[in-house]
Symmetry: C2
Subunit: 333 residues, 2 copies
DNA sequence: TTGAAAGCGCTAACAG
DNA sequence: CTGTTAGCGCTTTCAA
């Protein structure tokens, strides 16, 4: 920068000002000379000192648990779009539901003085998140609530959405509706399970059919295989998230069963090819892009107004019915 | 940090050393005192000055064109795993095939002094990439080559893979094999098209069936609808990437056609649910995770050895045959 | 409108 | 092994 100043015959302060927001406070003439010198010398601005001085970078962190899950993929897109539009850069970290990895990522983001962090935490009581909050860096909880912390939150109404899915199955006549769930330590999952259980109670469905998988393909598949090995097979399966649902479908194929003829299937989260599957899959669709975009917006608002009241955004999910859910199959004759 | 130093009764240099790599060069006793003071004061390290001093951050950039494309999703995971393992943070940017947005992202990464950048460029002659290279920041080209630049590159053998896909269709008896292609300005696409055309020549297939879409669902769908409106319909379709293929499948459904009974379909890039589609989809499968991981490795190697010889890594893609490709349908009778 | 100068909070060279 | 000290390259007072 001092080279540029010398070449333009001005001080470095003038160069700095000429390069800052549209060169306010610099005479057009000097500005021209500075820009010419910048071009001449092929000067590349360096944000590192600027960040240091500002004690913050124009970067937001996004911490998710599975980048290959299309739910998070869409969330990433929404958040990145907003960040980009507002002149922020997005740092992405993938935790694979590993609390230690999450803590490490958050620590790094804190050390890099991210302007703020959107986090789908591995657990409601994550030590990593608590530590991050204690640094004073703005945090937005996405998809998964943070227990006992007063942070902005963006979620869908998981309980209601799950209830509606199971209610639909009940309305088709199903009485043995199983749920392939997940680990209960994240709120989104436990809320879906709660919605399922409320529907089971309200509609007098059979109890004891809530099984816990992980949130991935392998767990969904394994759990379903075990579930269908039971003497009295469920007539419908509600699956807790998209990866898990893919596992359910694989398990059905493994056993040579078809939906909805043998078992009805409905999954939480839409899948990009859900309508092209065999059979097309009924799902609970979340407004994924919106979730990511709203989370980033909430975060950037808080970056600008640290003392604004804490907000909780709850979006609605919707039922998308396709052929994988049908009436109760009649027993083989 | 000076607070910590005061609390521990040492100099800030000692604090710095105690906090640096496992506290080498500091007596255990002082180290203890420093760590105690850090805990006591709830001190959060700040990397910003460190980065500034080092004139670089431990961050690598990854610039892709579509985060919702499962190909890139897997690439991201591979790259992020490697980066994380080596203590780097990953900055992700999505360009949507927009050269201007790409240039902006790369400029930001240069200004933030990323240690290096992996880029799937929007074009072989991207001005943004050229400028980035001129800053001296290490660059690795992923999936798409950079024309006239001497940079490390990670790609699959697109030409051969496309050739094999079309050859397979020819071996099933197809003579009217269409290709739903893409914009020719990225190497991966033009190479696939070249492989298609070589196969067309070698096997005496009908010419003039290479149509260009974009690389997204909408383009694949539109192009296919037009293609199938032709008086003499192709008996097989080869689609250039995963999103495009989903478009092809939607178009078939729109027209009430089925693969492979009406048209055979094979797509470049596997889809997570490819085996669950109706019918299960034949694809050219790329080693996506490996591509991302290798790109990150190549980049970090160059960060450490800027003068190492430039490498080009070419991985093989493989044909995954499922029911969507079958023999030539007999004309309706 | 411009320039001089004082940091931002670390790291590392150097001296003890 | 420890402390003193000189920056890293910007931004931003403050004074002219």
């Amino acid at each position: 920068m001092s080279d540029v100043a010398r070449a333009a015959g001005v001080s470095i302060a003038t160069v700095s000002r000429a390069l800052a927001n549209a060169g306010a406070g610099v005479s057009p003439e000097l500005r021209e000379r500075v820009l010419a010198a910048v071009a001449e010398l092929d000067y590349h601005p360096n944000h590192l000192p600027r960040n240091m001085r500002a004690r913050s970078s124009r970067t937001i962190g996004l911490v998710i648990s599975d980048i290959e899950n299309p739910y998070f993929t869409a969330v990433v897109r929404g958040a990145e779009d907003v960040a980009h539009r507002r002149g922020y850069t997005m740092v992405l970290a993938n935790t694979d539901e590993d609390a230690e990895r999450e803590a490490l990522c958050l620590q790094t983001m804190a050390a890099e003085r991210a302007a703020g962090v959107v986090v789908a935490s591995t657990g409601q009581h994550s030590a990593g998140v608590r530590r991050l909050i204690s640094t004073g860096i703005p945090v937005v909880a996405l998809d998964r609530r943070i227990a006992g912390a007063n942070v902005d939150t963006v979620v869908v109404d998981n309980e209601t959405a799950a209830y509606e899915a199971v209610r639909h199955l009940a309305s088709l006549g199903h009485r043995r509706v199983a749920m392939v769930g997940g680990p209960g330590k994240v709120s989104a999952i436990s809320e879906r399970e709660a919605g399922y259980e409320r529907a089971v109670r309200d509609h007098g469905l059979e109890r004891g059919l809530l099984w816990h998988g992980d949130l991935r393909e392998a767990g969904g598949r394994r759990t379903t295989l075990e579930l269908l090995r039971e003497p009295e097979r469920p007539t419908a399966i509600f699956s807790v998230n998209s990866m898990s649902t893919i596992g359910v479908l694989h398990a059905l194929r493994d056993l040579g069963l078809r939906a909805p003829d043998d078992v009805s299937v409905i999954g939480f989260d839409d899948i990009p090819t859900g309508d092209l599957l065999d059979p097309p899959l009924s799902v609970v669709r979340q407004p994924t892009y919106q979730l990511g975009a709203r989370a980033a917006e909430l975060l950037l608002r808080r970056v600008q107004e640290p003392d604004a009241p804490v907000q909780e955004v709850v979006l609605a999910a919707s039922l998308v019915l396709r052929p994988s859910t049908g009436p109760v199959p009649r027993p083989n004759d």
